[in-house]
Amino acid sequence: MWTLIKREIDDSRAFFITGAAYTISIIVFVISNVYSGGLSSKSMSGWPILPMLVWAMVLFSGMGAKQMYMDKTRRISCFLSTLAVTRSAIFTARVITGVLLIVMTLLPVTAAWIIILKVVMPPIPLYQAMFVAGVRTVLLLSLASYSLGLLTGWAPGRVVPVLGGTTLALILIPLVILKGSGMETAVILVLVTAVSLIRSRQHFISTPL
């Protein structure tokens, strides 16, 4: 399994680099704000949080779509399945790689946010609860975007694999605006992630290679 994961990471280097660049740019942005204007809840209200979120979802859904699309065009699984490897293992390694990308991208950003909020926000349970809910929502939204990318990546043609996952992920973002970051949103996102992964796996295991 580790070999398959390493192979997936090798193939998705560009996305990991992009994720790292995204993370670094956010941290640099934050640090520059700290040093230039001082940090306060007022100054943070002008930050482009929504575009940051959209970019992250595009990145993760693109990763999922790319993994499946490249597999289909380069016939990677067609070759791998002739080795001592099952399609299920290939898919699992793929998903683990996607989750790794999400964690590696979001973890530093989350750590940066924790530091910022510790500086800006007073330590009362309300803000801590809001932060936890926010992190949970972003993580689940990322997983859901990635899963939708996996789901659409194997579709025939080019348009659906390239744009389909991103479009579906962008439909999900307003869900957070609509429902907030509470448990209801979490349940919906978990449901979307679960069914997308189940269906992607089922399709991948039974499709002609």
Partner: protein, 300 residues
């Protein structure tokens, strides 16, 4: 452990509205070298892909080493070596990287054997697979398939793109593999001389069906080209079943007959020909006769 390495049961495969395989059944026992023949587009590669679980069948079931093809587990897959038509590999990988990947993903990897193969083939480890010639890709594919010490080796036109020397080397390797106990080979090729050299049994696909499934000797014995010379004009129709092809020229009739036996010979003799002789055929001749699309009417 079952002695049947590969089994196909009533396999039907449709691509869209086009039927490719129409109820094919065969068995390949362990230790057998089975040559699967057929014209281009007849369904050999399709059958092999279905066997390996890369393609679902429309109907019917296939088994390799006792496991259904779409449910082959990792361990069983590790016991199957496969050389694909077109030598499909990971094109964007460097050769060395690909070799390392295959080694790590295999259940058993025979590094000395691979090194020996590499000495023969002299594969460039630093080059990308897509930069290799067709022949070198074939050699790489072969080396990777054989290095895992497979119990079943499935070769789909493995010598496609190989020069004469490389083909000779491959055959030598194949014979080397054959000599190891219990190894089974399913071998599909258009170079029938190669097949004739190493195959025990022959299967020929035609019209979506398996029309021949027997040993090579049996095939040569049972499909016969017979030259019949009559004193006067030959009869309009010879009352023989299994006529594959019939050619007439004056008083001479040359028929290719399936399941030629004494009874059919007696039928021919009943017309008191001047001369009846069996013309020996190579496998290539047999194949052409069997799969020639020109159909001759069968006896009524």
């Amino acid at each position: 452990m079952s002695d049947i390495a590969i089994e196909v049961r009533d396999l039907v495969k449709y691509y869209g509205g086009r039927c490719v395989l129409d109820g094919v059944s065969l068995q390949v026992r362990r230790g057998c070298i089975y040559g699967l023949l057929g014209r281009n587009g007849i369904g050999k590669t399709t059958l092999i892909r279905i066997l390996l679980g890369q393609e679902p069948a429309s109907r019917g079931r296939t088994f390799v080493l006792g496991t259904e093809s779409m449910q082959l587990d990792a361990r069983t897959r590790g016991r199957i070596g496969y050389v694909a038509e077109g030598h499909h590999l990971l094109q964007h990988y460097r050769v060395g990287h690909l070799v390392r990947l295959c080694r790590r993903l295999s259940c058993q990897w025979n590094q000395p054997f691979f090194d020996k193969l590499n000495e023969t083939f002299r594969l460039p480890m630093e080059r990308r697979v897509r930069e290799l010639s067709t022949g070198m890709r074939a050699q790489l594919n072969l080396a990777l398939a054989m290095a895992i010490d497979p119990e079943v080796l499935i070769l789909d036109d493995p010598t496609l793109g190989l020069d004469t020397v490389a083909r000779w080397q491959f055959l030598a390797l194949a014979i080397d593999v054959i000599q190891r106990d219990g190894r089974t080979i399913l071998f599909s090729s258009h170079i029938l001389s190669d097949v004739e050299r190493i195959a025990d049994r022959i299967g020929i696909l035609a019209g979506g069906k398996l029309v021949v499934d027997c040993s090579l000797e049996e095939l040569k014995r049972r499909i016969c080209k017979v030259q019949i010379i009559f004193a006067e004009s030959p009869p309009d129709d010879l009352p023989l079943t299994g006529i594959i092809r019939q050619q007439r020229s004056g008083t001479e009739v040359i028929i290719t007959v399936a399941n030629w036996d004494a009874a059919k010979r007696a039928v021919v003799e009943a017309f008191r020909p001047q001369h009846v002789a069996e013309i020996p055929m190579t496998l290539e001749d047999l194949f052409i006769e069997c799969t020639n699309p020109v159909r001759m009417p069968t006896a009524v």
